[in-house]
């Protein structure tokens, strides 16, 4: 038993991200009912599911924007320390929480760029103030990142003066500026006009090709199918099915998942 635990912890240490049996309730409503996931270096995992299936909550539990009531989370071999208080997990150290968050890049549905800062200031804010790195170095890196996501000319503009697609690309660059171990995407294209979705997906695709470990909550079936190497389908707070896109999008898929995709094809 003890040996099993040790082997178990060894895999958690080797993986980029390891989530064990996460549970979360909001009042009476149990949103996550025991979810586990292992992500290896370079994994691109698409998390699909209808609204209310708990996929966003799951993502938010990983970087502790929500605190799961139960379960373990390991990021790059480091376990987030929790204590039980009235049967629910509470992080032991807010310093560790901040440190873990700095290692996880988060991209939100509504971009959430800081509106009082220019795009460049948004990018260097974390590296300069959280990681306490030299400003000049951060600016150089930030400019390279903006070049990469194709909005270098907007670096001195404020977020409100950018299109949704440009804002989301800037938000991705802001996360990348922290040199995260894992990137979490929470429906990154759901708030965008259809014609702007492509430019954001292209950036995400090139990230995946560079070997970034990514967890992507999405409704973009083509991304799940063609870019990710693993697809997870969530249903009622649990993982209904989990596999490579080739098997998931074949006849072998679970009936619930086939019905779910069917609703997309209309």
């Amino acid at each position: 038993m003890l040996q099993d635990q040790q082997i178990d912890n060894a895999t958690a240490t080797a993986n980029r991200l390891s989530v064990r049996n996460i549970r979360k309730s909001f009042g009476e409503l149990e949103v996550l009912r025991g979810i586990s996931l292992e992500a290896h270096d370079g994994d691109v995992i698409s998390i699909l599911g209808s609204s209310g299936s708990g996929k966003s909550t799951f993502l938010r539990c990983i970087n502790l924007l929500e605190i799961a009531d139960e379960g373990e989370i390991w990021v790059d071999g480091e376990q987030i320390q929790m204590v039980k208080k009235q049967g629910k997990n509470i992080p032991v150290s807010s310093r560790q929480v901040d440190h873990i968050r700095a290692e996880l890049g988060m991209v939100f549905q509504s971009f959430n760029l800081w509106s009082h800062m220019t795009i460049l200031q948004n990018l260097i804010e974390g590296p300069v103030h959280v990681l306490k790195r030299p400003r000049a170095e951060c600016i150089a890196e930030a400019e390279a990142l903006l070049e990469k996501v194709g909005i270098a000319e907007k670096r001195h503009a404020y977020p409100a003066h950018l299109s949704g697609g440009q804002q989301q690309r800037a938000a991705i660059a802001r996360s990348l500026a922290m040199k995260p171990k894992v990137m979490l995407f929470d429906e990154p294209t759901s708030a965008l006009d259809p014609e702007l979705v492509g430019e954001v997906l292209r950036v995400m695709r090139s990230l995946a090709e560079e070997g970034m470990t990514m967890l992507v909550v999405t409704h973009e079936m083509s991304f799940a199918r063609n870019v990710s190497n693993r697809v997870i389908f969530m249903r009622e707070g649990q993982i209904d099915s989990d596999g490579a896109p080739e098997t998931m999008f074949s006849d072998a898929a679970s009936p619930a998942f086939r019905q779910f995709i069917g609703s997309f094809r209309g």
Partner: protein
């Protein structure tokens, strides 16, 4: 012309004293605004906190100091405070009346009232910050203090400028009430000048004009600050 004589800067002229009085009004109001900003920030934080006791305390503060006449607060602090100081003096063996300095008492009184209004301004400004931006700050690993310094404070200030401009104007006029304590502010000096020259109409009109000059100038200052702070907003916003 006698008007130039009484308003001039010569021996019989009140001009110099009126200018000094206007500066005094400006001083009292500025100190009051600073006291109010400190109190207002604390009260706003209390009202926004998760702690029920603090929230209640904050609510009591804003309800009391917005609901009671300014003049009463000034009397309360000046005479009430002086009474307390006198009592302490008597205890220490000093017979007779001990007064609080009228400048300090006045600035404190106006500051306390201003704090009640500023608290509401800051609270509203905090609530105007998009929730997602605070979440993004958490998600990038900012600790509480850093979030306040880098994300919350600058945005609260930006959203608060129009409201603070308003509170400043109110405080500027409230400061006239401080004249009841004998402080030689613009109100008090106009009154004294009017009484001793018997030119009531002239001096009250001149006093009023000087108040208008102060409010108009400060209004321009706040509008400028507002425009500067709104550079980052969509263009329709900064024109408003």
């Amino acid at each position: 012309m006698w008007i130039f004589e009484v308003l001039g800067f010569g021996q019989k002229g009140w001009g110099g004293l009126l200018i000094v009085a206007a500066l005094m009004t400006l001083c009292v109001t500025t100190v009051a605004l600073i006291i109010g900003a400190i109190l207002g920030t604390m009260v706003a934080a209390a009202k926004l906190s998760g702690n029920k006791f603090l929230r209640t305390l904050g609510n009591i503060y804003t309800t009391v100091f917005r609901g009671v006449p300014e003049l009463l607060i000034i009397y309360l602090i000046y005479f009430g405070g002086s009474g307390a100081v006198t009592a302490i003096g008597r205890y220490l063996g000093y017979e007779g009346f001990l007064g609080l300095p009228s400048f300090a008492a006045g600035a404190l009184a106006v500051g306390i009232i201003s704090g009640a209004y500023q608290a509401e301004v800051y609270r509203g400004a905090f609530l105007a910050i998009p929730k997602g931006e605070l979440e993004a700050a958490e998600a990038i690993g900012m600790h509480r203090g850093l979030r306040f310094r880098r994300i919350i404070a600058p945005q609260v200030l930006r959203f608060a400028i129009p409201g603070i401009g308003n509170v400043w104007q109110l405080s500027l006029k409230d400061s006239a009430l401080v004249s009841v304590t004998g402080l030689a502010d613009l109100m008090r000096t106009s009154q004294v000048a009017a009484g001793s020259t018997r030119q009531y109409l002239l001096f009250f009109v001149v006093g009023g004009c000087l108040y208008l000059v102060l409010t108009a100038l400060s209004d321009r200052l706040f509008t400028g600050a507002e425009r500067r702070a709104n550079r980052s907003m969509p263009s329709s916003f900064s024109q408003a």
